[in-house]
């Protein structure tokens, strides 16, 4: 028993070293911009860069749109599958897991060939439509997490009875959807939303290959050209991840059965 505890503490030590040394290294490096003294110069430089603000804002907007449209797609589908088409649930689940199997770079490669400016649906022809395509690609990337968290939340409510009750009171389907179903699966919607936020904010491949000015490609550009700012950016990105994961934990604590992470 003594020996077991000893080995357990060694494991914890290895874990702490592996997890924290890079974080400390990054933090330390980000403070090293001014010679011989620690300062926040790198952060000041990052925050005063107009490129940072636009890229960060752009990714935030994309994340917001991804969450809104993703949920408008996922929640009704999960609801409908449970209510009317339980026999195709395995199939829908399989589809939602596919983005974990097909690498993002392959999906975006397909987009570029299929939706280029000389195709039937020239989505990459204009900035606005490319943004639309980017949002769709983010919805695809976050589909496994969104669908699973919503579906898990829906398991705890009796969709059939809720719908019947609403219908017998004369509710239209929009009322059922937005006043009965959405509020009841809010914990799932929020968990999905925070994972999506974390994914979209750091995403590089899609935005870079679609040539959109998102935070991921911006970070890569800074990384190639500057010395200390990248570390400051890494700390900022980590803060965003921490924030979304922290909120996720908070939300899943409110609901008993929501998973911590897919």
């Amino acid at each position: 028993m003594k020996l077991q505890k000893f080995f357990a503490w060694i494991a914890v030590a290895i874990g702490v070293i592996y997890f924290f040394v890079p974080l400390i290294g990054t933090l330390e490096f980000s403070l090293r911009m001014r010679r011989d003294v620690y300062s926040f110069d790198a952060y000041r430089s990052v925050f005063s860069d107009l490129g940072f603000l636009t890229a960060f804002g752009f990714s935030m907007l994309m994340a917001l749109l991804t969450i809104i449209f993703g949920m408008l797609l996922v929640v009704p589908t999960a609801y409908w599958v449970r209510l009317r088409l339980p026999q195709i649930r395995p199939f829908v689940e399989f589809i939602t897991l596919m983005p974990l199997v097909i690498p993002a770079i392959v999906i975006v490669f397909g987009y570029l060939r299929l939706y280029n400016s000389s195709s039937i649906l020239p989505l990459t022809g204009y900035n606005q439509t490319t943004n639309l395509l980017l949002v769709c690609s983010y919805i695809v990337l976050s589909l496994p997490y969104m669908y699973r968290s919503v579906d898990t939340a829906m398991r705890t409510i009796d969709v059939g009875t809720l719908t019947e009750a609403a219908e017998s009171l004369g509710a239209k389907w929009t009322t059922i959807m937005f006043k009965c179903i959405f509020p009841n699966v809010m914990s799932g919607v929020l968990s999905g939303a925070f994972i999506t936020l974390a994914i979209v904010m750091g995403e590089f491949t899609m935005a870079s290959l679609l040539n959109r000015p998102a935070f991921g490609p911006y970070m890569q550009l800074i990384g190639a050209n500057r010395a200390y700012e990248p570390s400051a950016l890494a700390i900022i990105a980590l803060a965003v991840t921490w924030l979304s994961m922290g909120l996720l934990q908070l939300v899943s604590r409110f609901s008993k059965s929501a998973p911590i992470k897919a």
Binding site: A11, P76, M98, I260
Partner: protein
């Protein structure tokens, strides 16, 4: 298919209209996934079997076996195997300590929370972190130099096979911890008690009871980690520019500037990636189903 659902919306007047409505309900989902997931992927898969002017060929797949592309696949596979094994072993050890090591419970919850964050901390920022830590001017490199150990003189380089493996393990270990902890939690106390009543030693218990139950989870998760790093690209690009010859970077360069001078060869490259990540994921799912027999 049965249309007699228990949810019986008895107000619906026409039966055959309902079947249509039933299927129309998931039409948005079907259309969306067709447009943005299935068709783009199928387009590449089919393109891999076509010549530029549209006739069927196996030449693209054959061209994958040229030395440059083979070496890219080989390096990718080696990095993925190394980081998956490293992540799996350390992650399992850590998960074992958290579940069965008799540690204070706050350590367990702290590590699990942190794993949730760290497994999402991939991509470009992760590369920056490791440059700041193990790069030429990194904290650890400088600290070691203080003690007279020149890390880079020993042949270590962050921008190499070994460096990339160490970096990838930063998100592999926490992923392993997150997935394998429930499996370890599912190990019933009674099994251990039964084994020790029958006179089994600790070693016998692990070799003859615990590992046979755990191996589908272990193998499955390791394959998931493999697929996870095989498709990763942002970290590699931010770390090495695009100098390292791994498959996702070759494909990235191909998309950006047609480096292979043959679009259909690019499709074949993509198909190769799908096949490799696809196989490992399918085995993962099968293993998971096997493992879940014990977790009821």
């Amino acid at each position: 298919m049965s249309t007699v659902t228990t949810s019986a919306v008895s107000t619906a007047p026409l039966i055959n209209k309902r079947i249509v409505v039933d299927w129309l309900g998931i039409a948005p989902f079907v259309i969306f996934t067709l447009l943005f997931l299935i068709i783009p992927t199928l387009y590449l898969v089919m393109g891999a079997f076509l010549t530029p002017d549209g006739s069927f060929t196996l030449k693209n797949l054959g061209d994958l076996f040229t030395p440059t592309i083979m070496s890219a696949y080989w390096i990718s596979i080696r990095i993925s195997v190394a980081s998956a094994l490293g992540g799996a072993i350390i992650g399992f050890y850590l998960a074992w300590a958290l579940v069965l090591g008799g540690l204070p419970s706050w350590i367990r919850s702290a590590f699990l929370t942190f794993s949730g964050v760290a497994s999402n901390f991939a991509g470009v920022p992760l590369a920056f972190s490791f440059i700041a830590t193990l790069g030429r001017q990194g904290l650890v490199t400088i600290l070691l130099a203080h003690f007279g150990l020149n890390l880079y003189a020993t042949g270590f380089n962050l921008l190499s096979f070994f460096g990339l493996t160490i970096t990838y393990m930063y998100f592999q270990i926490p992923l392993m911890v997150l997935i394998i902890t429930p499996a370890l939690d599912g190990m019933k106390k009674e099994w251990r008690e039964a084994a020790s009543i029958l006179g089994a030693t600790n070693k016998q218990y692990w070799l003859m009871v615990a590992l046979p139950i755990l191996w589908p989870s272990l193998l499955g998760t390791t394959l998931l980690l493999f697929a996870n790093s095989f498709g990763a690209i942002a970290t590699a690009i931010a770390l090495t520019g695009s100098s390292l010859n791994i498959v996702p970077i070759v494909l990235y360069a191909q998309i950006r500037g047609d480096v292979l001078h043959n679009a259909n060869l690019g499709y074949a490259l993509a198909l190769g990636m799908i096949v490799i990540t696809g196989i490992s994921n399918v085995i993962y799912i099968l293993m998971r189903m096997r493992a879940e027999r014990w977790q009821k």
